[in-house]
Symmetry: C2
Subunit: 210 residues, 2 copies
Amino acid sequence: MLLSKAKIAEMPKRYRAAFVNSLSGFKSANLIGTTDSKGQNNLSIVSSVVHLGSDPALMGFIVRPPVVPRHSYENIIETGFFTINHVNQSIQKQAHQTSARYLKEESEFDKAGLTAGWVDDFIAPYVKESNLSMGMSLEQDVAIEANGTCLIIGRVEWVMLDQKWMGEDGFVNLVDAGTSAISGLDAYHQAVEPIRFTYAKPDRELQVIK
Amino acid sequence: MLLSKAKIAEMPKRYRAAFVNSLSGFKSANLIGTTDSKGQNNLSIVSSVVHLGSDPALMGFIVRPPVVPRHSYENIIETGFFTINHVNQSIQKQAHQTSARYLKEESEFDKAGLTAGWVDDFIAPYVKESNLSMGMSLEQDVAIEANGTCLIIGRVEWVMLDQKWMGEDGFVNLVDAGTSAISGLDAYHQAVEPIRFTYAKPDRELQVIK
């Protein structure tokens, strides 16, 4: 079936949102932890965290101010710090609940039933129930003129994870860590053990990494 | 285990790349199809396609010129068009092979063993073996100062997929479509059937969508 831009524009709003959100493929499932200067915490699920570079280690995610996750955005601009926390199978429901529009003086940690933790004097809270958390410092707030969204870019300050998930080559086994993937607006998946391939070069047959 | 920024900076280069590439969670697996003004085709795997908005339907992905996928980037700037094609289980190896550094006059379609197709007079080729393809027009090329990468933003011009994967509410079942996810630099996953939750509101219990 071939759907034109015009057909997509004619779709009812919620139908189109569900459809277009499915098109990019599987998405990362992360909770963004922030606080404001008065210590009011905020937690917000995002499916747009993207790897930007390894040296320095940079990640970004998309926000659409002033819509949700507006409080997260305000807190990041105010304090300069946030955390990224992997969603796993046992906290999928709590993670999804953070997408509800709570008031600024309400903490999604409390409302959704997740626990805030702190690493040393890093100001932004992480999610204790997450199996992989990162502390991030704001590096750049990129305005995207195309539709009024922003790409928030952060630098990795610390990573917390169980060493048993790390392979000899630095690869982290996200299946063992129980990390979830998202598709569409509201679907949470577990993944099966991967097939890994060797570094690709012209005229050399790829091998499967055992 | 808590790894500091300093510890990550000390990692050997390939180890760090494998590690940091694992941290954002599961990533989308897509092939970017392009051509130049002389009809020389190019195909490049990317794991950074991200949803930017549904109305208009916008997607973006990260490129690091002048590194791979340099030819894709040049072609998009030259012609203004590209395609995004989901990787599925049966073409994972071919998809990974497109990351080898071929010459500009070599087509990764031929080298990796994938078939180029065209929709009407849309200039950029799509991947016939893909189960979900999109035609994209270049909307914006956003320079990311933080590390010299670019976010290429495209507008969805058309979508090709099998209608049987589309639900009544617009959700596309990517498990049925066989779409792959990526973790790290080189790991290709299938996902299991998801759990879907209803739209989250404060003080209302989430329900599982059947």
